[in-house]
Amino acid sequence: MTLQTTSPLRRKRRPTTGLLFLAPFGLLFIFVFIIPILYSAYISLFQNKLIGGQSFVGLDNYVRLFKDPQFYDGAIRVVVFTAIQVPIMLLCAILLALAVDSLRLHGTRFFRIVVFLPYAVPAIVSTLMWGFMLGIRYGLIGNLNDALGTRFDPFAPETTMASIGIMVTWGFTGYNMLIFYAALRAIPRELYEAAAIDGATEMQVVRNIKLPALRGSLTVTVIFSIIGTFQLFNEPNILSSLVSNSGITSYYTPNLYAYTLAFTGSQQGYAAALALVMAAFTIVIAYIVQIRGMKNAFDK
């Protein structure tokens, strides 16, 4: 990550200009984010009952949350999922970016668009498509099973997470690939020419010029992928009504659990507490990754 260089801008420049520039964003941000989150924190101190309405319970919701097995079930699942899916997806994205950048592909432009396309597809549409593809009765997998004589079910409780992983990777690899590709494109040509003069092989170029250049984007993509994956919601939510016996419960991921609590169980205070705890947890993890990423940038 580029460190903010303290530029020699003269301090006597009115410091308020910066604030003014930031103000539109800042004010909207307060309205759209700060106030709701404060309100959310406030709600989390109350318990909602169908009979009896709202009542103040202090930190009870949080205490209850930390004893809630359904919460842990979802949280652990999402952490494990992230730990597996994110590295795989980012590895694919890096390899693709390198491949596209190498200009050794036939039809570079075609591949670039095609790999990005899945990102443009809304979740409802992509889940429908994948629901079909992975269906064992009338879907492609069904046909494969018949052809190979297997009985593989992508939506059995043991395999559902893997299937969701396939769907998420499908949707986001292209997006991450673009970020890496942009970073590669910005490498100054002089570095390549210098390497050519030194007689470097392609592998050496990749290792010594390209990969280091990706470090910054890697940190960024890792952080944002972790944040996004921790909030996994769309796929389990839509799949639960499409396929049966998939093992997807109403508390399958923390976000889904919060949604169920708020909208089906009328327990908005508890849902708010859950969401805030997950947010805090995500921020901590993102911060840790950020620190490690920056450290790596330092000891090159």
Binding site: L242, V243, T260, F263, G265
Partner: protein, 438 residues
């Protein structure tokens, strides 16, 4: 109706409403006013039932100053969430909203719906199927008017059953069991029906068997799955599951389900009568093969029935134009607007409709030449009374789906155990939510 009881409950309800502190005018006793005829009024009606729209032109002609806006604000749960949000925010509450029968207590008990007896709705009971009327009455007062109905019936694919060697539709559950074995013997993916933890299916069987697992009085809820009627249905279904006679891998309303009905691998469906309008689009290849019969009975010659779905329309307590709203509500669920809806294919629980000769004689080539409405009308009248849903049924339903996974996925445990765990969960949740559940 026992009037003193109504008074007592009304007082209790008012106290509860006051305590609940729900927003809105629920604390004023609603009075029926005359509908103003000079000022323009726009009524907002939330309904995912497409037939309501058909009643609008006639109503607008009768009341030229009223415009009715029918909006699909979501199906089922989506709409209930939206309504709850709107009530909480105090804005955007519609004049009339659609509710499936099981969710009425959820809204009625905390006072979110208008008690319609002030408009004289309690007089309308005799015009409706008894069981339907029973469900819109919460603690003795009508909070909604029944709008459509789903008497549980058996839709069967005659051709597939004949192939399996079942010439007559099963009339008792024992016959159904035998038929199931024969259908299974056809091989492949043939099953007599599917069930992927469909709580409404199970409850309709329990209902028909005379079981009444939920008893609700005000905020007192008693849950018991061990009464005779319930136990009988549960044991039967357990046996069907154990012997692999039910397809547990297909969920109702999914694409797979449509295809299963279409290609005949699902031979029957035990489902509500309203299925007549949507089955033809889901199983076009099976046109002419399906027939309808009443649910198999427990004892030969018995005539008992159950309900599987159906909905009612109610006026939220915070609705902006209640008097005009009631006029339209009565019009399209009870009055002159009914015919237009029936022409669109609605199946309504009014006795006059169910006894209408033209209706009873109508046929649809999808069902061959069967006068299927006779079956459905008869089934409607046979629906057992006294059924109640607990006030937190929406939550309970999602909890049931979570709990049923081990049994339906891997055969762990039994249906009885599942129901017992469910009962425990519901007791815990209900008590936490301020009800007295035992």
């Amino acid at each position: 109706m026992r009037k003193t009881r109504i008074a007592a409950v009304a007082t209790a309800l008012t106290a509860v409403i006051a305590l609940a502190g729900c927003s809105g005018s629920a604390d004023e006793a609603p009075t029926a006013g005359a509908i103003p005829t000079d000022e323009p009024i726009t009524l907002t009606v939330w309904s995912w039932d497409g037939t309501v729209e058909a009643a609008v032109p006639g109503f607008e002609k009768k009341y030229p100053n009223i415009t009715v806006d029918v909006v699909n604000a979501g199906s089922s749960t989506d709409e209930y969430t939206a309504l709850d949000n709107a009530i909480q925010a105090g804005s955007g509450v519609p004049d009339i909203a659609m509710f499936e029968y099981f969710v009425l207590p959820f809204f009625a008990i905390p006072g979110k719906l208008t008690d319609l007896s002030v408009y004289g709705a309690d007089e309308l009971g005799k015009d409706y199927v008894e069981a339907a009327w029973g469900e819109v009455n919460i603690d003795g007062a009508p909070y909604a008017l029944p709008s459509d109905y789903g008497p549980a019936a058996m839709f069967y694919n005659q051709k597939v059953l004949a192939e399996a060697g079942v010439e007559e539709p099963p009339a008792t559950w024992d016959e159904f069991y035998e038929a199931a074995k024969k259908v299974r013997a056809l091989g492949g993916d043939h099953y007599i029906t599917n069930d992927s933890a469909d709580i409404f299916l199970l409850l309709s069987l329990i209902w028909e068997s005379g079981g009444r697992p939920f008893q609700v009085e005000g905020t007192d809820v008693k849950i018991d799955f061990t009464d005779e009627g319930t136990a009988r249905a549960v044991e039967y279904w357990q046996r069907m599951l154990d012997e692999d006679l039910i397809n547990t891998k297909i969920t109702g309303w999914s694409d797979d389900w449509n295809r299963g009905l279409n290609d005949g691998t699902l031979a029957t469906q035990l489902i509500g009568g309203w299925f007549t309008s949507t089955l033809p689009e889901r199983a076009p290849d099976a046109a002419g093969d399906f027939r309808i019969a009443e649910l198999p009975q427990w004892e030969e010659g018995e005539r008992s029935g159950a309900e599987n779905g159906g909905s009612a329309m109610a006026i939220p307590a915070d609705a902006p134009n209640k008097d005009a709203a009631y006029a339209f509500l009565e019009y399209f669920t009870h009055g002159e607007g009914l015919q237009a809806r029936i022409d669109e294919g609605a199946f309504v629980p009014t006795l006059s409709f169910l006894e209408d000769e033209a209706f009873l004689a109508s046929t649809n080539e999808f069902f061959g030449d069967q006068a299927y409405n006779e079956v459905l009308a008869s089934a409607s009248k046979n629906v057992g009374t006294g059924w109640q849903y607990p006030p937190f049924f929406s939550w309970a339903r999602s909890s049931y789906e979570d709990l049923s996974a081990p049994l339906y996925n891997s055969g762990e445990g039994t249906l009885a155990e599942l129901l017992e765990t469910w009962r425990e969960r519901m007791t815990e949740y209900g008590n936490e939510q301020g009800f007295a559940v035992s």
